[in-house]
């Protein structure tokens, strides 16, 4: 084992000798966090609203006023027919139009009910869903207010008022939610790409020949090659957490030791994956392609962008084998909810088993003799 430090020293020399590597390692977490955390924002603002008010009553003006007051909508046009409005959507001038029928106020006062038409451009499903939800909320508010003012005589069904409380992220801040997950991707990138490519590079350049005829043992070489990236990835995580705290004010409710401890374990899995890929490839290009294939699946199925619970059952089964999903979960649990070791014991057990399996397979696959 005494040769391991020399291999590590050599690796660090080589890594930092590349002019791009040092800035890349320190700038990557900052840039990725800044770009992704601001970009991966699910709130939909500035929905272009088109109004077709055929009633021109006090009630309709009040409803329109409420839409205009909303931060989610901007009024981009008004017309006197649904045809013009749908044309506006066709042209992309409007995302949503609201048609208020003639007799809207009269029906409300007389029958206690009326109908409104809302049409949404559903090219972007997420945006369409959220826009119509915002619109419904405004209409509901309007409805409640209207009834309070005018509906004295109209029998009202007893309404249940539902109050929602968002625990652990009271303001439903997307950045609080996203930043811990993005940090996971960052750490995964370093582990899987850099480490995998680093070993394949020795094959590609031929230096592995010279190593193979030396008395270096298999495990010494592997540890020596992977340890530097284990360290770099943890440093990246630390930088990322600092940026998360300073820029995005993400809460650190749980123990940072636990985060780093789990990250250390998680990195064994990711580095093992990199090692495994390097044993089945001959060039950095091949390694890159395979790593990318797994990474895309891991990231998209990690629960970072879409909740795992909303996936079909077979996809949920796949995520059980996705290390990224476990770490994203742990990050959120510990940082936002303050979970302790006992709460995440299952995650730890799975990750530990995973680390043993992947590394065992990789070491078996790695041969010094052809």
């Amino acid at each position: 084992m005494k040769t391991v430090p020399y291999i590590v020293q050599k690796e660090f020399r080589q890594i930092f000798r590349h002019r791009v590597m040092l800035p890349l390692i320190f700038l990557m977490p900052v840039i990725q966090l800044l770009v992704l955390a601001f970009a991966a924002d699910y709130e939909v603002d500035n929905v272009k609203l088109h109004i077709v008010d055929l009633d021109h009553s006090q009630a309709s003006r009040q409803l329109v006023g409420q839409f205009e007051a909303s931060e989610h909508f901007i009024l981009t046009g008004a017309s006197a027919s649904g045809k013009i409005a749908s044309n506006e959507i066709q042209q992309g001038e409007a995302d949503l139009y609201l048609e208020i029928p003639p007799d809207f106020q009269r029906q409300l006062l007389r029958d206690g009910r009326s109908q409104l038409q809302v049409a949404v451009d559903a090219i972007n499903g997420v945006k369409a869903g959220l826009s119509s939800a915002y619109a419904n909320a405004i209409i509901r508010d309007f409805n409640a207010a209207f009834r309070q003012n005018y509906g004295g005589g109209i029998a009202q069904p007893a309404a249940l008022q539902i109050e929602t409380a968002n625990w652990f992220n009271p303001e439903q801040n997307y950045q609080t939610f996203m930043v811990p997950g993005i940090l996971v991707i960052l750490v995964t990138l370093v582990g899987m790409f850099l480490a995998g490519m680093n070993i394949v590079k020795e094959k590609e350049i031929g230096t592995i020949e010279q190593i193979n005829v030396s008395p270096i043992r298999k495990h010494e070489f592997i540890i020596g090659k992977l340890l530097p990236f284990w360290i770099i990835a943890l440093v990246e995580l630390a930088i990322g957490l600092v940026v998360g705290k300073l820029v995005f004010h993400i809460p650190f409710v749980g123990s940072l030791w636990l985060i780093f401890g789990f990250a250390g374990l998680y990195l064994l899995v990711v580095l093992g994956f990199g090692l495994l890929i390097s044993t089945v490839t001959e060039t950095q290009q091949q390694a890159m392609f395979i790593a990318w294939f797994f990474l895309i699946i891991f990231i998209l199925m990690s629960g970072l962008f879409t909740p795992i619970e909303s996936m079909p059952p077979w996809a949920q089964d796949i995520t059980r084998f996705n290390p990224v999903a476990y770490f994203v979960d742990v990050m959120r649990l510990v940082l936002l909810k303050g979970s302790d070791v006992w709460d995440i014991r299952q995650h730890i057990a799975v990750m530990g088993g995973y680390a043993l399996a992947v590394n065992g397979l990789a070491v078996l696959n790695y041969r010094k003799v052809g």
Binding site: Y6, R13, R17, I205, Q210, V213, S214, P215, I216, V369
Partner: protein, 299 residues
């Protein structure tokens, strides 16, 4: 000391070695001479414990390449055909790294590499990737020697190196031999054969002949002529049609013609004149390793 018994290796259905039996004495400078694809690299990689033979066995200093591979790795120096040091580390860093992984230091074995390293020392802070071809080979040799091996396996160390550096490289090998290191070196350059104590001529995975270079050359028993005319291409075509011709191949500006039996040069002259050749020149030629090779590979 290197011994092999009936070594065989195939890549798929392509045989690379067809039963190699070899004896290299301790302290001998032994050459493996043969064209590309003869199986030289495969043989050396099996001896370096990097490749497993399909059949047969091999020992270095009485240690088996399969059973005692770990002991062998401590006692051999191996230089692959392709430059395989860290191009992004400096000369000194490379040497220090390889010394350390063998559990030694540059100082400890400086004596062995001094002759070579003094030439590299002015560039010791230069990255290996920025060295010239000859310098790279010298560095690779230093790295292969830094742990004081008893057997040195060199796979085409002079391929792609300029003639002056090649010359220097062979002088270094002679000095290492004097330090009682067994050296097995492969090369596609026939002219380097004469610099070895003994050589094995290899072709298509088999050894054609093993002997001292002089004996190999002296064993050549066919009349050999060097022929030149104005049209070399036509000359080769015509000589191959020439009934008494045994082998015909270009050799520098001449064509080497070996004959099945002694034929008067006047007869050849007349034959070539009939075929319309001009500026005909015919002279006796001294056989070289290359001639032996062509001779052997005819069979």
């Amino acid at each position: 000391m290197i011994q092999t018994q009936n070594l065989r290796k195939s890549y798929g259905t392509t045989p690379a070695l067809r039963g190699i039996n070899l004896q290299v004495q301790p302290g001998e400078l032994f050459g493996l001479i043969g064209p590309d694809g003869a199986g030289k690299t495969t043989l050396i990689r099996i001896l370096a414990t990097l490749l497993l033979a399909d059949e047969g066995s091999a020992q270095l200093d009485h240690k088996d390449v399969v059973a005692d591979y770990r002991a062998i790795r401590r006692s051999i120096g191996y230089m692959p055909g392709r430059f395989s040091l860290y191009q992004d580390l400096t000369v000194e860093e490379n040497l220090t790294f390889f010394a350390t992984i063998f559990g030694t230091t540059i100082e400890e074995n400086y004596e062995l590499i001094r002759d070579i390293y003094v030439q590299l020392e002015p560039f010791k802070d230069r990255r290996a990737g920025k060295l010239s071809g000859g310098m790279k080979q010298k560095l690779a040799l230093c790295c292969a020697l830094i742990h004081k091996p008893t057997v040195l396996l060199l796979d085409e160390p002079t391929t792609g190196v300029d003639p002056v550096s090649r010359q220097e490289f062979w002088e270094m090998l002679q000095r290492l031999k004097a330090k009682n290191i067994t050296i097995l070196v492969s090369t596609p350059y026939m002219d380097e054969a004469s610099l070895c104590d003994r050589v094995a001529l290899m072709q298509d995975g088999a050894i054609l002949q093993v002997d001292e270079p002089d004996s190999i050359v002296n064993s050549y028993d066919k009349p050999l002529l060097a022929v030149k005319t104005a049209n070399i291409y036509q000359l080769i075509q015509d000589l191959r049609q020439f009934e008494p011709a045994h082998t015909v191949f270009p050799f520098g500006e001449y064509v080497h013609l070996s004959l099945k039996s002694v034929v008067w040069p006047e007869l050849i002259h007349g034959y070539l004149l009939d075929r319309g050749h001009a500026d005909i020149e015919i002279k006796q030629a001294m056989p070289t390793i290359e001639d032996i090779f062509m001779e052997k590979s005819q069979v």
